[in-house]
Amino acid sequence: MVSAVFHPPYPDAAPATALTSKTIATGQETAMAAAIIPSEKPAPAPRPGRDWRGLWLRVLPPVFGLGLLVAVWELVSVWTGASIPSPRDTWAQALEVFSNPFYSNGPNDQGVGWNVLSSLKRVAMGFGLAALVGIPAGFLIGRFTFLSRMFNPLISLLRPVSPLAWLPIGLLVFKGANPAAIWTIFICSIWPMIINTAVGVQRVPQDYMNVARVLNLSELKIMTKILFPAVLPYMLTGVRLAVGTAWLVIVAAEMLTGGVGIGFWVWDEWNNLNVKNIIIAIFVIGIVGLLLEMALIKLATAFTFEEVKS
């Protein structure tokens, strides 16, 4: 039907399989180690012991990765004559910044904790509103072909637009920086939720719908007992994509709107030429984004059920 709606419903499949294959690999190594020991010494039972090889393979590569990052950073710092601060200086500064994350000296000078929290608050509000509108909209678009054909051109047209392009409209309509930022988050997180929910509804196995037809279930029962549980994994994927995008966009939006927020903090520190704090902010943004993502993956796996046709 309409191509815009058919997006890969599980972009998270790749990291998930990578993770499991890693665990399987270490499991195989354990089995191999266990098989080798008794062949040398058949009398005593194989000592369970620590699986050093598996541990090395799991711990070493990430450590090397981080080490590479720090090394490149150090080199860049030396080449630029320390206009990019060295990792050590940044670490010292970070200890200072995080020793008191929740101070407040007026609206333009607040601790990093307040900045992160107010960014998260904006994301939560914009995102919550988007979920409130987007998920029901996705259900309707997925359920009724007419609505799907009606809205798909609009979605295809508006989805590729950078959410920041909507910021001036937000400022104009809501006459304030904070609601405009929330509006931008709303716009950027609504598309993945509508699209994934709609795809989920369209992909509900025909068997389930036949059951619903034979039992002659009411539309409410179909929604609560069949559609909602079947669509939930798709919906949570949409939610995860939306949160990811929202966290990307909030930094840019806050740079433009000002106020309190991690994006504003980055811009403010740039105006102060405090590059160390910018680097700290980059790490903070990355870690918060990672935590959001991990929490939502946990949530999604808890609600994924075995497929009937397996």
Partner: protein, 268 residues
Amino acid sequence: MSAAKFIEIQNVEQTFRTPKGSFPALRDIQLTVAKGEFIALIGHSGCGKSTLLNLIAGLTTPTAGTLLCANREIKGPGPERAVVFQNHSLLPWLTCFENVYLAVERVFSATESRAQLKARTEAALALVGLVAAAQKRPGEISGGMKQRVGIARALSMEPQVLLMDEPFGALDALTRAKLQDELLAIVAKTHSTVVMVTHDVDEAVLLSDRIVMMTNGPAATIGEILTVDLPRPRNRVTLAEDPRYLQARKAVIDFLYTRQAHVEKTAA
């Protein structure tokens, strides 16, 4: 309402519209099913036996002709014509109990209390011997058990007709035999009217009163109807040497592999 003409299928024709043009699946279907009768629909793959079952279920509407059930035209699916699907079609997020309860609730909640509905659900699960697995999800039980829950769900609605679309097709031979015996016992107890699609000759002869043999598609129709004149209760072990059983079996095999075999060759 006459019991002899419980389901009436008159001049039914089904044509599917496909991107390559229209595809005639069924033509000139004439069949009457008596109340309490067990009918097997048998034929090669693609002969439209499932299409015919879906028409009786009301999941699809015929291009021409009429289908009547208890003198009323079949206009859509309904709980009085329960379907047991080939792949059981249980909802994986509900327990076995909840899967059956969903059906019971739909049919009886207007007239009965919650306790009665629960009792009905438990009775249906007891009928297929699955009381112990009631609180398990479909993912936690075997294929045969899932199919039993599907049968329990269908029977719990006290349907006028039980429609089964190759209900045991996906099971191994031993489990299939066990479920066939259970189905025989259940039908003897409930006196259900059953229409079952199958491609297993032994299953058809063992279970049914009449075997409806379908010609090969496209534009399949009923080739022959064989009355299985075997006394009930039937026992698969004693029947294995019964000349009437062997004769019925031979007749079906003759139809499927001698008279209908060459058609498939030209079609392929």
